[in-house]
Every structure is written in C-alpha cells, then in structure tokens.
Symmetry: C2
Subunit: 418 residues, 2 copies
Amino acid sequence: MNKTYASIITIGDELLIGQVVDTNSSWIAQELNKIGILVKHRVAVGDVWEDIWAALDEESKKADIILITGGLGPTADDITKPLLCKYFNGTMVIDQPTLDHITHIFEEVLKRPMIERNAKQAEVPDTCTVLKNDRGTAPGMLFKKEHKVFISMPGVPHEMKFIMTNHVLPMLPELYNTGVILHRTLLTAGIGESFLAELIKDFEESLPNHVKLAYLPNYGMVRLRLTTWGTDSTSLTKELDDLFNTLKINVKEYLVVDKDHPMEMVVGQLLNERKQTVATAESCTGGYIAHLLSIHPGSSTFFTGTVVSYANIIKERMLDVSHEILTTVGAVSEETVIQMAKSVRELMHTDYAISVSGIMGPGGATDEKPVGLVWVAIADKDKCIAKAFHFRFDRRRNIELTATNALNMLRKFILENS
Amino acid sequence: MNKTYASIITIGDELLIGQVVDTNSSWIAQELNKIGILVKHRVAVGDVWEDIWAALDEESKKADIILITGGLGPTADDITKPLLCKYFNGTMVIDQPTLDHITHIFEEVLKRPMIERNAKQAEVPDTCTVLKNDRGTAPGMLFKKEHKVFISMPGVPHEMKFIMTNHVLPMLPELYNTGVILHRTLLTAGIGESFLAELIKDFEESLPNHVKLAYLPNYGMVRLRLTTWGTDSTSLTKELDDLFNTLKINVKEYLVVDKDHPMEMVVGQLLNERKQTVATAESCTGGYIAHLLSIHPGSSTFFTGTVVSYANIIKERMLDVSHEILTTVGAVSEETVIQMAKSVRELMHTDYAISVSGIMGPGGATDEKPVGLVWVAIADKDKCIAKAFHFRFDRRRNIELTATNALNMLRKFILENS
C-alpha cells in the first residue's frame, strides 16, 4: 500500500485578488483526511487558460487525485469546462439527465424561464463521468488520465459539498487502498504555545517517528493534535489513544476538551448534560456570543436568549443598570456587567447568564479605558463573578477573543459550581 | 514597465488537513492589488522540508515577490526558519533588537518569565533583513536572491498584517515599478448570475481587451467587478469610471450599492445619512443580524440593540407575542414576526426594527413548515411588512441567507418610505 495523495486546485480571479476567502479547501481536506487521503498541496489560480493548464500538469505530478473547484458558472469568465474538454481530448455533448435536472429547477423550483445560457450548463466533455449536482445547475465531472483521477466541481460551497458527499467521498476508497490516518485533538486554554511546548517537551521527544504533534494556536487558546498513519487500524488506534491519554495527563491543568470541538460546543454539551440553560447580555460583542451559542444544531435545548444592549439607554431600560453607575463608573465596568448578568438571567429565567461590556476599538478609548478593555460577568442564582480582560489591537479580534474567553469563564464556573 | 507578480506560500499541516481556514492569503492579495501587484499563484504546503523547499523553487520561477506565512512558531513542528537559513546560505545569529523586544514583551506585557524557547525566536539567518514584529515574538524576514524578493512572516493574522502594513507594503513600490491596477465593484440583489449575464451581454462584449468583468455570486446576491491594468492612472481611471457608469445603468433595477461593501454596511450608511436607528428581534438567526450590524466601527450611531428570543417563552415574555399565536399559527409565522418587530421597536425606541423567525434545520421541520422557511418583518412607526422566504439546505447557509435578505428588506423599506 502506498500513501494516497490529493491536490486541490481552486480556480477564480476572486481568490487571487482576495475578494473571497477560500473555505472549500479546508472542508475538502478535512473530509479526505477522514478516509485516509492526504492533501499534499493546495494551489489557487486565476481564470487564466495557461495557468489552469499548468496547474493541472503540475499537480498531477504531485498527487494521485486532483480536486478542482470553481470556474464552472454560466458566465464568460468561467473557462474551466472548455479547458477541461481540451485537456482531456473530449468533445462537448449534452448530458440529458443534467438538462432534465436544470429544466426541472427552472420550471418547478425557480419558476422562471430557462435561457440558453442555463441549458448550456448541461454540456459536458464526452470524456468525463458526470457527477450529478442536486444543488445547482453545474454538474461535477470526473476524468481519468494515466492512473490519475481529476474531479471538477462548482465553487459554490454547498454545491461542492453535495457532490463530494454523494459521489466523490464514497467512490475514492474503492479506487485507492487509502490506508488509515488517525488524529486526536485536544483544546487547552490559559497557557501560551511556548510554555505548553516546554510542559510537554519530554512527551514530544518520546513520540515514535510515525506520530506527529502539531500546535494550533488561536485566540489565546492552543489546540494540540496527534496524527498517525499506517495500515492496521486496530493497533494504530490503541497506540494513538495511549499516547493521547498521556498527553491529556501532561496538560490536565489547562485542558478544555479532548476533542476537536470549539469552545461554544463544549459549553453547550456541559449545559445539556446538566439540563441547564444560559442567556447572554451583550454590549461590545453585539450578539456574537449568542450567534456562537446558536450556530450548532440542537442549541435550543440550552440557549434561551439574549439582550444586546448596544446603546447605554438599553442597559438602563432593559437591564436595570442604574443611570448613576453609567454616569460614574461607566458602561465598561465591573458594576455594569454584574447588573447586566443578574438582570438578563432573571428576564430569561435561565440557570446561568453571561454578560460583556468593553471597548472593541478603534474608537471609544480613554486614558483609563484603552481599546481591548473588556469586563465579563457570569451569574447563576447564587452568585455573580466578574473579571476584566485586557486585549489589544483589532476590533474583530477583540470581539472573537471576548466571546471565547467569556464562554471559557462560563465553562469553568459551571465545573466549579456544580 | 513589466507586470509585477507575487506568489503566496502558506506553510502548515493545519492548512492541509483543513483544521484552519486560510484568511491571510485573501487579505494579502487585496493589499497587494491596491499597490498594483498581481497575485499570480497561491500555494499551501505542510510542515515538510522538501515540500517547502520545492515551493520556494517553483514559486520563484512564477513570481517576482514570494510572500511566505506560517511555520515560525517556537515549537518543534515549525521548521521554516532553519529551512530559510539553509535555502539562503546563512548562519543563525541573534538579532539584538528582536531579543530586546521579546524580553520587553515577557517582562512588561505578559509579566511571565522568558524561557530559552522564546529567546530563540530572536535568532535569524544573517542573510536576511529583519522586519520588526511589534505584535509578537517571531520577526519577519526579507531575503533577496537573483532579483527575487522573499518575505517570511508569522501565520498569526494580526502579526502578519502588522508586518505587511508597516514594512512590506511601503517598501514594495520602491522596489518595483508596479503600474496601476484599478477595480470597480458593485453589488446586485434579486437576479441570478445567468440572467444578469444575459442583461449585460452587449456591455460585456463591448469591453476593451484590457478591461475584465467578473461575476461573484454569494448568498443570492451577485457582485460585478470591472478590472483594468496599465500605466497611466488618469486615463485608466476615466475609462473605467465611464464603463462602470454604463454598467450601473444596465443593472440599475437590481443595484444595491456601487462599492465593494457588504449589505450590512450599506444599511448602516443609509441609517447614518438619515440619523435613524434600528433594533432587531431574532429567533432563528440567534443574534447574527445584530453581529453583522455591530461588526464595523461606528455602528453605535445607528444600531441600538436586540432581543434574541430563541426560546418561545421569550417571544411571549419579552416581545408580547401572544400564547394563542404561538400555539395556533406557531412561532414561524407572519403574525409572530410582525408582533416581534413592533415590540422590539417600541422596547428599543428605534426608527426601524427587523424581526426574523424560521426553521434553520436540520431539525424542527414539519410537513407544512420545511427547513428553510423563514418569516421576516420590518417595522417603522407607521407600518409593518412581512415576507416569507423559502431557503433550503444547510443551517449555516440559512442563517447567512436570512440575515442578508432581512437586511436587504430593511434597505428597500428605508428607500421606499423616506
């Protein structure tokens, strides 16, 4: 068995001028990893004939599977399909099932007349296998050339995901003996990357060659990932789990969760296990903590609601923060967040409340209250704790850091008080 | 004058297994574009010696400037610095200003003891020019080889941005005669990509060769971008502005804004111009509309606050949706969103209110109310309108689509009623 490698080619000028962020590649890489295929290389090229052609040449030297996204739209800047037709020595033909599907979309779903440009999307090179796209009008296409597989998909994320999930991912393990890749990931908080590295230095040095440790720092937290690769799933799993357990013991003081779960999911699970609920009162984060708490399916069991009191008058009117507090110690203060947390918990009848108020920047700072100063409070029926955080720098980063740290404060509060 | 091309190499296993989304590349590409440098190619490689080495070889054949991010951390998986040292025939030396800076960070900011691992970050190849990183401990490094410039930066976004903004972007126009790249972007809503293409077919065919049109569809809206490149800024600007005006006239029925601004910014500007305010009452979007309205600096002038009534009892208790409505027509209904919008507008004393209630999936659907059904209402002091949207598919996509369409509904409401 050889390792199976994949390359991802993303096509589109919008990727090269930075007008969109490429989220497809990371999703594709995750899914391929699960079935034992390693992404070796990722490349982005513009809507330029020679560059796409060269990328196909180069990536097929590096990988067994070449996944291509983008450039399949109905407009003139989309040149990928004619290029693939030529690259794989084909002739354009109408694919009748695709034409039927497009006709159905226009007649039954969109209820708009279909124009020639749409019908043209049913044309495919006769050298490809069509991968049906239930989510849109541009079908996926699979080509084979010199033992390499090339798969072209639309760049629209949910269309690409449909084709990957329904056609590509089930098919690849049949085409390749892909072996086993295993990952174990844990999340730490409250310790920097370099100190963590020092803490687990002996562990890291003792790792066998086929097990790799990676540090993934993000927003003041560090994820640690162990990866192994091989053929025997049972022995690899046992070895990796043993190593992972040792790692967990090494970092236990800072361990948030022993899965690759984001903080809000960890908090949601804690609440679900306890059949408890939370509400938030948000100023500077403007609803972002609520958004995180509600983004995963099933969040209605533990997340009740939020008051975003962006204007100070709303802190007074809806959250009972006194005019005196607001005019003396101010909206960004321990007193304010404590009142916000208590009030929103009572309003929403929840077990816990999170409240935040801070200065996200770039405006709003004073000498005493610089950009990045954020007060966070956590309340349950018996008590309320508050803490000041001193972030710095950028608005978006401060919003993210505030949300993550507030959720981590709630996590610790739940564990310590239940 | 020749075109100046850049390549971006991002380094890190986390990019290839999909554990993080690369947002650095698009930011770098945007900034380079503004100073007339075209990103020709982007490539992601893992923390693998041969792959990084090969990427440096290959990208330097394609581009004049090679920007490298990632792989500079203090831990063992970060091999970029020793590799660059060898690639550029250097010897590691301590950079005293960097060491002083790291010492300062630990002693004055973090107030934690500095360990050897941190001090080691002050080591750099003696063949590089150090680019000071005020935001972190890993400095940027600039190398020159055979008329090509290589710049290595940390992968942490705000550190990379600091080095780009303070060192790289001011320096590149001095090194290269970069020419002029101009873009004009507008946003449309309410028309699909293929119909838009049909609408502006004649315009597109009449474009001169050096002006390019791109379609950028996203969440049911399509941005159109005109790009031109050359030497004479004045004549290029005039030509592009004339073409852009023609394009605007062609799509006027669907035009949202003639800038590359997201919908929430368009709404914020409309409100600011009118010195008006908005509040939201959100169920299925869980605070995401509030998050969008508050993410840009200065939003406190028009955004007052939000009630996220995720649980139905909060719709009753805080937004006066009657128990009868909730138990007969239900939470996802015209009656509910109308009451939510009216109540939150009164609670928050704002000029306008947006309310949403829907089924985001994957759970919660019934025969009559499928996943993707969302009711949206907009209220001012005189009236309240409501509309049902029928999205489909995925939870995150439905949240995004709901937010964008609700904001667009408010935008039209403001324009029609003021």
